[in-house]
């Protein structure tokens, strides 16, 4: 036994061989837990399933990946977008995906919407957590909300808080981050070391959204291993909003600038997301909107429509197939706020979209 050449107060000084053994053992143990967990933890999504509201689960991208995998294996179409797709104002069986299934005539569409999942976040999902988004069909939402102002577009003058900070580009393009460089490097590391998102799943699912050691402090006499029940968090069926229209909420009219798509960070990253999906051999259909044009002052509404026309021009140029939800003519009272639809809005939108020739053509191409 060779002793260390440095003075120490413990015996933990490893040789190269010992280090290799420790690293291999650690990697093996992590791999067993990481890969085994998917089969150990009960996960039984029912009809109209949507993942539990993001606010409840912080950033549980491991669970999101699992839902992607399940959805890809059980549904023909994955509908991706923000809380408009998730169904902020309605229960599970009143979402866009629910009505699309009704009008298509079968359980074809899975709801992959998530709270605050802006377009840059969609790009992050595709890039970093898109393992199961390949060889399938995706409807992806292009929401004007995220291009309504510089702040929404992640380049406001002041540092802002964003949803899903882990999903936005950490270094390029330059975004006025509210997190320091070290935190962003930590986020980058999570994309490489998938065990960290998995640990956050454990924290979210079993440990009150805190670290396991933090949980032990709050539950001083409990066994942290006993907290693991191998049951996924209960499926969320309730709505998050109040389900009433924006005028009843007495929302004020807004005057949003709406950005030029050519200068929009969000739009640029949305295009990256579409290209990323295509590279995964996935067929993509884009849903533009919805957005509540009724709550905009006339000049702002003009700017919105001008921006949407520019977006469509880009899609046409790139040969993307899309459905413009502004053609539906959704009435004012179908909106709960600036963009979230109420039940009637989802119904109308899905009905029109299911009848849209471009969408029908895309739908007919599934499986061919």
């Amino acid at each position: 036994m060779k002793s260390s050449s440095i003075s120490v107060s413990n015996a933990v000084v490893l040789t190269l061989r010992e280090w290799l053994a420790a690293v291999l053992l650690s990697a093996a143990a992590i791999a067993v837990v990481y890969y085994g967990w998917g089969s150990w933890e009960r996960y039984e999504p029912g009809p109209d399933h949507r993942e539990t509201c993001w606010a409840e689960l912080q950033s549980d991208y491991w669970a999101y990946m699992r839902w992607c995998k399940y959805a890809r294996d059980h549904y023909d179409i994955l509908l991706m977008g923000d809380s408009v797709i998730w169904g902020q104002e309605v229960p599970n069986n009143e979402t866009i995906s629910h009505y699309l299934n009704e009008y298509i005539g079968r359980e074809a569409v899975a709801n992959l919407g998530n709270d605050g999942l802006f377009m840059a976040g969609l790009s992050g999902i595709v890039r970093h957590y898109g393992d199961y988004l390949g060889d399938t069909n995706v409807i992806i939402q292009c929401s004007p909300l995220w291009m309504a102002s510089p702040r929404r577009d992640l380049h406001g003058e002041k540092k802002s808080q964003y949803h899903h900070p882990r999903l936005i580009p950490q270094l390029d393009p330059r975004i006025n981050y509210y997190h320091d460089l070290n935190t962003r490097l930590g986020y980058l590391s999570e994309h490489v070391f998938r065990v960290f998102p998995f640990v956050r799943h454990l924290m979210a699912n079993y440990y009150d959204n805190t670290s396991i050691s933090g949980w032990m402090m709050e539950h001083p006499y409990s066994d942290p291993f006993a907290a693991i029940t191998f049951r996924s968090s209960p499926v969320m069926a309730e709505k998050q909003g109040r389900g009433i229209d924006w005028e009843a909420k007495e929302m004020k009219m807004a005057d949003e600038p709406f950005l030029d798509p050519a200068e929009s960070i969000q739009f640029g990253l949305f295009l990256d997301a579409v290209e990323g999906l295509k590279k995964k051999n996935t067929r993509v259909f884009i849903m533009i909107g919805p957005y509540n044009q009724h709550y905009l002052v006339p000049e702002s509404r003009e700017r919105l429509f001008a921006m949407v026309e520019k977006i469509k021009a880009v899609f046409d140029e790139r040969g993307y197939q899309y459905f413009d939800t502004f053609t539906v003519g959704l009435p004012s009272d179908t909106f709960g706020d600036s963009c979230h639809l109420l039940r009637e809005g989802h119904d109308m939108l899905a009905k029109k979209m299911a009848a849209d020739p471009a969408f029908r053509k895309w739908l007919d191409g599934i499986g061919k």
């Binding site: 490893l14 070290n182 670290s211 032990m216």
Partner: protein, 458 residues
């Protein structure tokens, strides 16, 4: 830049790669200085100017101490300069606060405005490193360093820049002069030190901090047992935090081929306070011994002078830790404890009849009492904690079982390491199992967020 950060990992990989790539050229030392200044300037670019100034003054003094007939003058210039920097940046606020209190007592309506500047992190450490060098130069125990780049590297070497160990010129300058050779052994030893330090910091210190911070934040709201457990928790937190930092510092240095001094040697196994200070923050206690206690006369002039020197040294050591009376009281308590226990140890009864374990427990608990003054934000809160332990009802403290198990496990390990069981702990499978357990714990159980290292504030 914290050692336990991704930013540092990138910084260190780049620094190490550059250092070994430049190994046989003179540029390697300049590279270390550049890296150290980037490391330090990352916190605040103005800090770099301060350390560069300190380096320059002490470098010139070191050279002048060789040839000038006025050696005492040059020593005084350097030492006073270093103490002035410490005084202005670290103690000015404390001095003004106390002067204003005195003015208030005297009925004066005028108050001196408090200085607004912040204490640059690591200032106490590198000024002591530089001061130690000029005193050694004066005594002739080290040669003058004529290469200013090498001297700058000695003062600012990033592994020990922020929180020690407070290295000595006779240990570091020869190592900085030597041409580095890349050895796998350096890397594996350095990684071992680093991973143990990281585990101490993020798994143990930060975990115990959750409890200690909660209770010490509002001590009046907790029962006696909770106050006691929080004091135990803090005692181990500060040990894990500071020794963890030192382990990481030594690990980084080792990966670059340097051997920094051992700074913590299982201090909670000490049988006496004298021994405690030979095991706790060794680089600081030996610094005070060499540059304060011995120049004061040490133990050479009788019992009274010995104790006077000991008390003075401990009071200054307390003040070094922070510009607040709490730290002076902490130093004073240690001085009192060392005085009493030194007498006690000279009695046959204590030396021979009291079992070793009882002595260790006694010393640990005495140190815990002193930590109360170190940790509490005010003297009033310290007294609330101390009094509360003995007077308040011992309700359920809600201290996590895991915390108790960690502390007992580490203590048992340290006892074993210093016993005949050490050979068992040095077996490969034990070491591999321990490191694997540490890695897995850090991956799955780590606290979210980081606590800043406690000793950064000094």
């Amino acid at each position: 830049m914290l050692f336990n950060s991704w930013l540092f990992l990138i910084f260190f990989v780049v620094t190490a790669a550059g250092y070994y790539a430049l190994g046989r050229t003179r540029l390697r030392t300049a590279w270390l200085v550049l890296a150290s200044y980037v490391f330090y300037g990352w916190l605040n670019p103005l800090y770099v100017a301060l350390i560069a100034y300190t380096t320059l003054v002490n470098y010139v003094a070191g050279i002048r101490l060789e040839s000038s007939p006025r050696k005492k003058t040059w020593l005084a210039v350097a030492v006073i300069n270093n103490l002035l920097i410490l005084g202005v940046f670290k103690y000015a606020g404390f001095a003004v606060e106390n002067l204003n209190a005195l003015l208030g007592l005297a009925g004066a309506s005028y108050a001196i405005p408090e200085p607004g500047h912040l204490l640059p992190v690591g200032l106490s450490f590198y000024t002591f490193i530089a001061t130690g060098y000029v005193i050694d130069r004066y005594r002739g125990t080290v040669d003058a360093e004529r290469d200013i780049i090498r001297f700058a590297a000695f003062v600012s070497f990033f592994p020990y820049l922020l929180a020690g160990p407070i290295e000595r010129a006779k240990n570091m300058l020869p190592q900085l002069s030597a041409v580095p050779s890349f050895r796998i052994g350096y890397i594996t030893e350095g990684m071992s030190l680093f991973v143990v330090g990281l585990f101490k910091k993020i798994a143990l210190a930060d975990f115990l901090a959750l409890y200690a911070n909660k209770v010490y934040g509002e001590p009046g709201e907790f029962g006696g047992l909770a106050l006691l457990m929080a004091t135990y928790a803090f005692a181990w937190q500060i040990y894990f935090d500071f020794s963890g930092y030192t382990d990481m510092a030594r690990g980084c240095a080792r990966m670059l081929g340097f051997d920094l001094m051992l700074n913590f040697d299982n201090p909670y196994l000490s049988e006496s306070l004298n021994e405690f200070w030979k095991r706790w923050h060794i680089s600081l206690s030996s610094w005070f011994k060499d540059y304060v206690y011995i120049p004061l006369g040490g133990n050479r002039r009788g019992r009274f002078n010995t104790y006077r020197n000991m008390v003075l040294t401990m009071l200054v050591a307390g003040l070094w830790h922070g510009a607040a009376w709490n730290f002076v009281i902490w130093g004073g308590l240690h001085a009192l404890g060392r005085t009493v226990t030194r007498e006690l140890e000279q009695t046959a009864f204590y030396a021979e009849k009291i079992p070793k374990f009882v002595k260790q427990l006694f010393i640990f608990h005495f140190v815990c009492v002193t930590w109360i003054f170190f940790r509490a934000e005010t003297f009033g809160k310290a007294m609330t904690v101390l009094g509360g332990i003995f007077t308040k009802a011992w309700a359920d403290p809600r201290f996590p079982i895991a915390g108790i198990l960690f502390i007992l496990a580490v203590w048992a390990y340290q006892f074993a390491f210093e016993s005949r069981l050490r050979g068992m702990l040095e077996r490969s499978y034990v070491k591999v199992a321990l490191v694997t357990a540490m890695i897995l714990y850090m991956v799955f159980f780590r606290t979210s967020g980081y606590e800043v290292f406690l000793y950064f504030r000094f």
